[in-house]
Every structure is written in structure tokens, then in C-alpha cells.
């Protein structure tokens, strides 16, 4: 079976889980339950739309692209519009690609990027320890619809970002809102990508 086929099958399995009678219906009443649920997902591929509102700009900026996730430590965000650019977090290494150049940095050396990408990675992989290492975490759940509020602990990140708020249903993230210290705000909405989209070559 091709790599892609296997990935799709795994995703289908994950989605099909709630329907199986053998395992109890997943609950997201507590943060631990949510984390356990999320950690079962091995791959993810979504499209995103991001709306960025800035105090210095007269109207919001929009961008869109795709995000890929491979458990437990690979997240890639590929922006298509307005300009192609990518940001890849893999095993703690951050690779930025813009205008045909690559920049490699360790996440630990670049705390400003933590609210933007590590927040999503740690949530997707159900890595509670990582979330609590970088953020003060508040969790609310309302009938399988949950909200994670993350306040950066790292001083450089805190100087930049006031709060990251991640909302979702069961094991799917719906929106990520980043509230910046200077009043700017970006809201990213995620949608499951069409199944015929290829996985990125890894």
C-alpha cells in the first residue's frame, strides 16, 4: 500500500473510532481526556484561512494555505497566498523558507515562534507536558466542544503574544486565535483537506 493510502486509512480509522462499540465513546470532559484523544491521531492534513487584524492597518489581511501534521513532532504550515512561504517544525528544529532561502533555527532559540507553531503541535499530539512547559493552560469543555487557552510563560514569547486560544470538537481543531501584545490579532480557521490531496513527501 502506498504511503498516502496508508495515511488515509489511518485517518479513516481515527475518525471511525467513536462509532465502534468496543471502545467507550470518547469524552473530552477533562484536559487529560482531550490529550488522550488527540494523541491517537497520527496524521493530519488541513487547509487554513488566517485573518490578521492589525492596529496599524486599515483593514484585515487574509492568507490561506495548508497544514500537515505527522505525530508526534512534525508540523508544517505552507502558505499559498498572498505569497508562498513555509514554516516547518520537526523534532524541535524550525525551518523557515521564504524567497527560496531556508533558515534553520532551534525552537528553543526562537521563543517568539512558540505561540504560533509549538502551541498547535503540542495540542495535536496531545503533549500536555509540552503545553504546560510553555504555557499556562486553561481548559473548558462544553459537550465535546472544547477551548484551550494558552498564556505564554517564556518571557520573549509573552512580550509578543498575550494569549493563544485553540477551539475544537473531539479530535479536530477548528480555530486558532493568537492575541498579540500590541493589540493585533490573528484568527486561523482549519478545515479538513479533501482526501485526494497528497501528503507531503517526507
Amino acid at each position: 500500500m502506498s504511503c498516502r493510502g496508508r495515511a488515509v486509512l489511518l485517518m479513516l480509522c481515527c475518525i471511525a473510532l467513536p462509532a465502534t462499540a468496543v471502545i467507550a465513546a470518547p469524552a473530552t470532559d477533562t484536559l487529560d481526556q482531550l490529550m488522550a484523544l488527540l494523541s491517537q491521531r497520527q496524521h493530519g492534513h488541513v487547509t487554513f484561512t488566517e485573518v490578521h487584524t492589525s492596529s496599524i492597518l486599515d483593514r484585515p489581511l487574509e492568507s490561506y494555505g495548508e497544514m500537515y501534521y505527522d505525530a508526534p513532532d512534525r508540523v508544517e504550515k505552507r502558505t499559498v497566498k498572498p505569497k508562498p512561504e513555509s514554516m516547518l517544525l520537526e523534532k524541535g528544529q524550525l525551518t523557515l523558507e521564504r524567497r527560496h532561502k531556508q533558515y534553520h533555527v532551534a525552537l528553543a532559540d526562537y521563543p517568539q515562534a512558540i505561540p504560533y507553531i509549538e502551541a498547535i503541535r503540542a495540542t495535536l499530539s496531545g503533549d500536555r507536558a509540552a503545553l504546560e512547559r510553555w504555557f499556562r493552560v486553561t481548559y473548558t469543555d462544553n459537550d465535546a466542544h472544547w477551548i484551550l487557552k494558552l498564556v505564554p510563560l517564556e518571557p520573549k514569547a509573552a512580550a509578543e503574544v498575550t494569549e493563544v486560544s485553540i477551539e475544537g470538537t473531539l479530535d479536530e481543531i477548528a480555530t486558532v486565535t493568537v492575541q498579540l501584545a500590541n493589540g493585533d490579532r490573528s484568527v486561523t480557521t482549519l478545515h479538513e483537506a479533501p482526501a485526494d490531496h497528497a501528503e507531503p513527501a517526507t
Binding site: 498572498p82 528544529q93 533555527v105
Partner: protein, 798 residues
């Protein structure tokens, strides 16, 4: 008696002189032995790069073991202390490049440094395009990088400069310092003040890094528990490191192998002579030859190369032959002593053999490559000295009534063996046919075309070097443009002109990218132009009003931008001294160097990673694109790999030509001495057969021939000519005793030679083992063929 004492006195004086010269000689082991003294402009540029260039001064440092923070800490401390050391012009571990001071420097000078600053950038259209680009970037994943900059730098010049300064694929970072791809090793690059060709200077630099690391890791170790991670380990690579290591290896190997050879040969001779005194006397010509060879090279070249020194060992095997002949062949005649009888009877043959060898090696003297010429001179001086000491000094040191121990029994057995072997003489023609066939089949793989074959650097060290270079995003330059001008300003201006042409090649996809010192330090002229491109506050204000139409940004917010431009219009221009406060200085220094009274700028080229021209650069196309250089400036496009391959090929073909010339000289010499074409043919035939057979054997064993094998073949001729001449002149029915003595001496001489070179074949230094594996079997083959082809005719007079 008196003249004999005089000869001993002269010998002792000469020995003392030679020892003094060697004690004051300089030894080196860099590539210089293989670089030509006469060269084309491109070769000269290559040679300069290899000897003096930035790449030759780089030491790549790798620290593993310990844990991440520990490695980062030691990396930091090491870089700091190397920067402070007088032996290093720079040391980089990645930290400086990302420092806040650097970012501030770039921000403060963005309008002088940005390659995008031109009058067009600040027109209404230019501003609109640049600002809308920056606004778009805000929405990007990396937008948070530039948000704070937008109002003061809406055209994005700071990011443009940072992008200019970032290598296309730089090293990774961890804990704020450069690390290998998997993060398990910390990486640094140090640049020495000593050039790569200065092996002593490189040795000091390598030693400084080692001792500094030992100190730092010892202090960081004390904080570690015994059960913690493994101890920190330092590894280094680079041309200078290799040269230092190669010199140490060659010297160590030379000493080790000489000792082994000497012990083996001395044991053999002790068994033969049964006299310690005779043994010691027999080794005197060997020692004299080695000293004379080294002293002659020191006098002739001013510096002794490691290869030459190693070669000295090989001559033990040959120079010992002369005294073997004397000490076995000399018998007391009816009147007069043994030595006098030998001088009258055998010396002319030995002398002719010596002259043959000298002719062979003299052909190497005119070589444009010092390494080859040194080997030639060393051999000539060494052999002449050994033979002269045998002829003029040994007889005076032998006791009055001394005579050689009879070895007739050994000689008789050898003679019988020859006789029985000669029954198969008719089959001898098969040997050259088979050898030629083997060589012909492998003719395409006959010569090793890779210069690395001569390198004493092991394959694993080379792999480590390659890995380190690729991790570091690598100054492992293959294609390079060298701009040479009379001063820094004209070198930078020419680099900018070349850079503009290269940029269009990058645009068209024919080139992947390039580096230029002008990115770190633009010429003053370019900075003036950029400054002049900045509009006044009023003009800018008006244009901004028009440029921002349709964009979500209001002009009123951009007052920091207007103030910055106003200030930049009068900022002082940057020179090299102004860069000193930033890490841009090391970038500029790496690509800009004072060489003699010229300033040289280097522009390394990078092949495209994809497309029609993926992974290759068409040097001719680049040359054509550059156009002509201004007066007083020279621009050279250099493909280092191709140029060094060409160089090596020319080295090889020169050596082949010179060897053939040597062979011709030998034939002429023999024709003059023997005055008979058929006799010359009989002397040459076994030697040619031996050479052919060895070539075939090496090729069949997948040993592609290098220059050192060629020297080995020359040595086979030198050694074998003695055998062939003895058989030609002494293998006569006459007194059987004399013939048997001669045969015994040849056998002993041969075993000594094969032992000497056989030991060499075990060396880890490629040049030494190449010589050993060629000459050891070759000398044996030469004796075998000479005896098989010997005619039992009447002895002929010289």
C-alpha cells in the same frame, strides 16, 4: 696509504657538512610538492588559492560528547578565546551572526547595504510595490519577524540585507550555536593567520585549539557527574590540519620503516658476512647516501618535502647493493689486496650500473613539479654518494689482509637453478605477450586520474571533512571567480560589476547563486549611489501619498520611515574599519584578501539545484557573460576541481615523458659504453620485461598507477640494470668460482632490495606503499629475467 687517509677525511668532512645542512633544513608536507612552478594564469590562481587562499586557512572544528548545553558552552568559550588569539583572524560558531548588535548594525545601515536601494525603489511605483510586498509579508507565517519593522522600514530593506547575508543553506542552530544536522555535534570554523602552505604555522594553530579545548573541557567536566554523558571530544579537519597530520605521519612512518628495513637487512648481511665489523662497514654507504640525498635537496630547493623524506627510506634497499657487491665479490688475488682486485675487476660494471641509474633519475630534474624534481635529485645524490663511499672510502677502512667470505656454494646452487630454468627459455616470449594483453585490456583504468590518490589523508578523514563541510553550508568551493585589483575599492567595484552579470545568470536559472564581498562591504561608489537614490523628506512625503493609494496603510503612520531616510541621506559611508563592530567583518574578510600588492576578491559560485544545468556550472558560459574587465583589474573564472585534475594530468604526462626521456638516455649511455646494439638489447630486455610484468600485475590487482608507481618503475630499471650488466659482463664460463661469487652477490643484493621495498609496501602512507609494491616484485623480476636471458658466452671486455 696517504691518499686513502685523505679520502676518509674528505668523506667525514662531507658527512658533517651534510648533517649540518639537514639539521637546518625546513620540512613541509603540504600540497606544494604537487603544484607546478611554471603555470598558466588559471593554474597560478589555483596554486595561490591552495597555498594562501581563505579555504587553505580554514580549520573546521567539531565537538561531540557531553550534552547540548555543555557543547554550546564549550563552543562559545572556544570561539571567544580563538578570536582573542594572535594565531587566528576569525572564529565563528554562529553566535555572532545572530546577535542583537548585528541586527542593530544592519538596521542602522540598511540603506547603504541593501542591494535593492536604487532611484527606482523610491518612485511612486517602486514604493507602492515594496510596501505592498511588506504588508503581504505580515500575513505570512514569518510575519511576526517584521511587524515591528513595518513603520520604520516599510520597503523591507533590513530583511533584504539579512537575506543577502544569509548563506543559501546555512548550518542549523541549537542552544544558539551551530550544530550538525542531527544536533549531536557543535560546529565552529576558525580561520588561521598562517597560510595553508605554512605547515609550522598550521601546527601551532592546531596545537592552540587542542590545548584550549583540553582546558575548557576539563573545567566543564568537573561539573559533570561520573555517570553523566560521555566526555566532550574535539575533532578537526581542513587543509592545514591535514598537512600537519600528513607531515607527522610521513616522518613517523619514515623512521619506523627505516628501522624495520635496517634491522632486516642488517640481519641478512650479518648472516652472510659473519662479521659485525664488515656489517657496519657495509652500512656506511647507505647512511652516507641518505645524508647526501637529503642535504642535496635542502641545498637545491631550500625545503625538504615529506614525500622526499619518505623516499629516502626506499633508497636503503638500493644503496646497500653497492657495498654488498664489494663485500661479497672482493677476493684477495695472487698479488695485491682484495679491494684493489675488486676495483680493477668489478667496479667498472658497478660504475656503469650507477651511471644508468643516474641517467634515469636525472630525467626528473627538469620537472616543473618540485616533488618530482626533489625525488630525482635525492636519488642521484644518494646513489652517487653510496657508490663513491663504497669505491673510495670502504677499501681504506677494510683490514690490510681482508678477503670476502667465500659464498661459492650459494652461487653454485643459484647457477644450477638458472640452468634448469633456462630449459624453459623458449616460453619466455609468452611473458611480454600476456603482460601487454593484460595492460591493453585495462588500458582505460591504467592511470589513476584523481589527485587525491597522492594524498596522505585517509578516506575516512576525507569523509569526515565532507560531512563537516556540508553541515556548515560549506566553503567547499568548486567554482570560483577571482577578481584581482590594485586596491580594495576597485576590487569591490569590479566584484559589483561581476555580481550584476551573475545575477542575470541566477535569474535565467543557469546559476544557483553566488557570494560576493560586496554584500558585506559595498564599494564606496556603490554606497554613494545608494545614498543619492534616497529622496528628501518633502519629495518622499508627496510620493508616499500616491504610493499608498489602495493599500491598508496610512502615510501619517510612516513618520519613522521619513525620519530614517532623512538621516540615511547623511550617514557616513561604511569602510572595512566601520564593519569591525559587526560580524559582517568576518564575512568581508573571508572573501577579500590582500595578496602581495594586489587585493583579491573571491566570488564562490553555486550550481543550480534543479533544471537543465542542475549541479553543474558551465564555466565558459559564465566567462562569456562577464564581458571584459576594466583596466588594471583581472577576472578569472576558476573550476578548482577541473583545474586541479588538469594540473594532475599534466603532472602525470610530464612524468611519463621525462621517464621515457630517461630511458632514451640510458640506451644512449649503454650504446656508448658497450658499443654493441645486441648487447644493449640484452641488457635492456630483462628490465623492460620486469617493468611490463609489474605494470600488468598492478593493473590486474586494480591498482591504478600513480606518479609514484612511475618512479617505482624507474627504480626497477635503476636496480635491475646492475643485475643485467653483471650478467652481460660476468656470466662467462671462465673461472667458475668467480661466476658463482658474482651470482651469490646478486642474490644477496636482490634479497636486501626486496626486503627494503617489501617493508615499504606495508606503509599506511599511499606514496610509500605505492613505491614498495612496485619495486619489491620488480627487483625480483629483473633478476629472474636477467638470469633467464643470460648467455653462457665468452666474457667480453669493457
Amino acid at each position: 696509504m696517504k691518499p686513502r687517509r685523505v679520502s676518509v677525511a674528505i668523506w667525514l668532512l662531507l658527512l658533517a657538512g651534510a648533517a649540518w645542512i639537514i639539521a637546518h633544513a625546513r620540512f613541509t608536507a603540504d600540497l606544494s610538492a604537487f603544484l607546478p612552478t611554471r603555470a598558466t594564469a588559471a593554474q597560478q590562481a589555483l596554486v595561490d588559492e591552495l597555498r594562501e587562499g581563505v579555504a587553505s586557512r580554514l580549520i573546521l572544528i567539531d565537538i561531540d560528547g557531553g550534552d547540548g548545553p555543555q557543547r554550546a558552552h564549550v563552543s562559545e568559550q572556544l570561539a571567544e578565546s580563538l578570536r582573542a588569539s594572535a594565531s587566528f583572524s576569525s572564529a565563528n560558531n554562529g553566535r555572532v551572526a545572530s546577535s542583537a548588535a548585528d541586527q542593530k548594525f544592519v538596521f542602522d545601515h540598511r540603506y547603504l547595504l541593501s542591494e535593492r536601494v536604487s532611484p527606482g525603489r523610491f518612485t511612486v511605483e517602486g514604493l507602492h510595490a515594496a510596501i505592498s510586498d511588506s504588508i503581504d509579508s505580515l500575513a505570512m507565517p514569518t510575519g511576526f519577524l517584521q511587524k515591528d519593522l513595518l513603520l520604520a522600514d516599510p520597503t523591507g530593506e533590513t530583511l533584504q540585507v539579512l537575506e543577502q547575508l544569509t548563506p543559501d543553506s546555512g548550518p542549523r542552530y541549537s542552544n544558539g550555536v551551530w550544530v550538525s544536522a542531527d544536533g549531536s555535534e557543535a560546529l565552529l570554523v576558525a580561520q588561521t593567520r598562517a597560510s595553508g602552505g605554512d605547515t609550522n604555522g598550521q601546527e601551532l594553530a592546531v596545537g592552540a585549539i587542542e590545548s584550549e579545548f583540553a582546558r575548557l573541557s576539563a573545567s566543564s567536566r568537573s561539573a559533570v557527574t561520573p555517570l553523566g554523558p560521555p566526555a566532550l571530544r574535539l575533532r578537526m579537519s581542513g587543509p592545514g590540519v591535514f598537512a600537519v597530520r600528513a607531515r607527522a605521519t610521513i616522518i613517523h612512518e619514515s623512521i619506523r620503516l627505516s628501522v624495520i628495513s635496517c634491522v632486516l637487512i642488517a640481519t641478512l648481511l650479518l648472516l652472510v658476512y659473519r662479521s659485525l665489523r664488515t656489517l657496519v662497514l657495509g652500512l656506511l654507504p647507505v647512511v652516507s647516501g641518505a645524508l647526501a640525498g637529503a642535504a642535496a635537496v635542502a641545498l637545491g630547493f631550500g625545503v625538504i618535502h615529506g614525500v622526499t623524506l619518505g623516499f629516502g627510506v626506499t633508497l636503503i634497499g638500493e644503496s646497500v647493493d653497492y657495498s654488498v657487491y664489494l663485500l661479497i665479490q672482493a677476493r684477495r688475488g695472487a698479488n695485491g689486496n682484495a679491494a684493489d682486485a675488486w676495483i680493477a675487476g668489478f667496479w667498472p660494471t658497478v660504475r656503469l650500473g650507477l651511471l644508468t641509474s643516474v641517467c634515469g633519475f636525472a630525467s626528473l630534474l627538469p620537472s616543473a613539479f618540485p616533488g618530482l624534481a626533489q625525488l630525482g635529485l635525492y636519488s642521484m645524490a644518494g646513489l652517487v654518494a653510496a657508490a663513491a663511499v663504497t669505491r673510495y672510502v670502504l677499501p681504506s677502512l677494510l683490514p690490510e689482509n681482508w678477503t670476502a667470505r667465500p659464498l661459492d656454494g650459494l652461487g653454485r646452487r643459484f647457477a644450477r637453478a638458472i640452468e634448469s630454468l633456462q630449459h624453459y627459455r623458449q616460453l619466455l616470449w609468452l611473458v611480454p605477450v600476456a603482460a601487454v594483453a593484460i595492460v591493453a585490456v585495462h588500458r582505460n583504468a591504467l592511470w589513476n586520474r584523481d589527485i587525491a590518490a597522492l594524498s596522505p589523508v585517509s578516506a575516512s578523514e576525507q569523509q569526515f571533512d565532507t560531512r563537516l563541510r556540508s553541515s556548515l553550508g560549506a566553503p567547499d568551493v568548486r567554482d570560483l571567480i577571482i577578481v584581482s585589483a590594485s586596491d580594495v575599492e576597485s576590487a569591490l567595484q569590479a566584484s559589483e560589476a561581476v555580481g550584476a552579470h551573475l545575477a542575470s545568470l541566477v535569474e535565467s536559472g543557469d546559476l544557483g547563486g553566488f557570494e560576493t564581498p560586496a554584500r558585506y562591504l559595498p564599494s564606496l561608489e556603490m554606497q554613494r549611489q545608494r545614498r543619492a537614490a534616497l529622496p528628501t523628506a518633502e519629495v518622499l512625503q508627496t510620493r508616499l501619498g500616491a504610493a499608498l493609494v489602495g493599500l491598508p496603510l496610512r502615510a501619517a503612520r510612516l513618520s519613522p520611515f521619513i525620519a530614517a531616510i532623512e538621516q540615511a541621506r547623511t550617514t557616513p559611508l561604511l569602510d572595512r574599519a566601520a564593519l569591525t563592530r559587526s560580524s559582517l567583518a568576518s564575512g568581508a574578510d573571508a572573501l577579500l584578501a590582500q595578496r602581495g600588492n594586489r587585493v583579491v576578491a573571491l566570488l564562490p559560485l553555486r550550481a543550480p539545484g534543479s533544471g537543465v544545468h542542475a549541479f553543474s556550472i558551465d564555466a565558459a558560459q559564465v566567462k562569456a557573460a562577464l564581458g571584459s574587465a576594466p583596466a588594471g583589474v583581472s577576472v578569472t573564472v576558476l573550476d578548482l576541481k577541473q583545474e586541479s585534475d588538469t594540473l594532475y594530468a599534466s603532472y602525470q604526462s610530464e612524468a611519463i615523458h621525462l621517464s621515457l626521456l630517461g630511458l632514451a638516455l640510458i640506451v644512449v649511455l649503454l650504446l656508448v659504453a658497450l658499443r654493441s646494439v645486441s648487447r644493449v638489447a640484452r641488457v635492456i630486455a630483462p628490465l623492460s620485461l620486469a617493468v611490463l610484468v609489474v605494470c600488468a600485475a598492478l593493473v590486474a590487482a586494480h591498482q591504478a598507477l600513480t606518479i609514484l608507481h612511475l618512479i617505482g618503475l624507474l627504480l626497477i630499471v635503476a636496480v635491475g640494470s646492475n643485475y643485467a650488466l653483471f650478467f652481460d659482463q660476468r656470466f662467462a664460463p671462465g673461472p667458475a668460482a668467480q661466476r658463482n661469487t658474482m651470482l651469490a652477490s646478486l642474490l644477496i643484493a636482490n634479497v636486501a632490495t626486496v626486503m627494503g621495498f617489501g617493508v615499504l609496501a606495508t606503509s599506511t602512507v599511499p606514496v610509500l606503499s605505492a613505491l614498495g609494491m612496485t619495486v619489491a616484485p620488480g627487483a625480483f623480476a629483473a633478476l629472474l629475467f636477467a638470469s633467464l636471458m643470460a648467455r653462457a658466452g665468452k666474457p667480453e671486455a669493457l
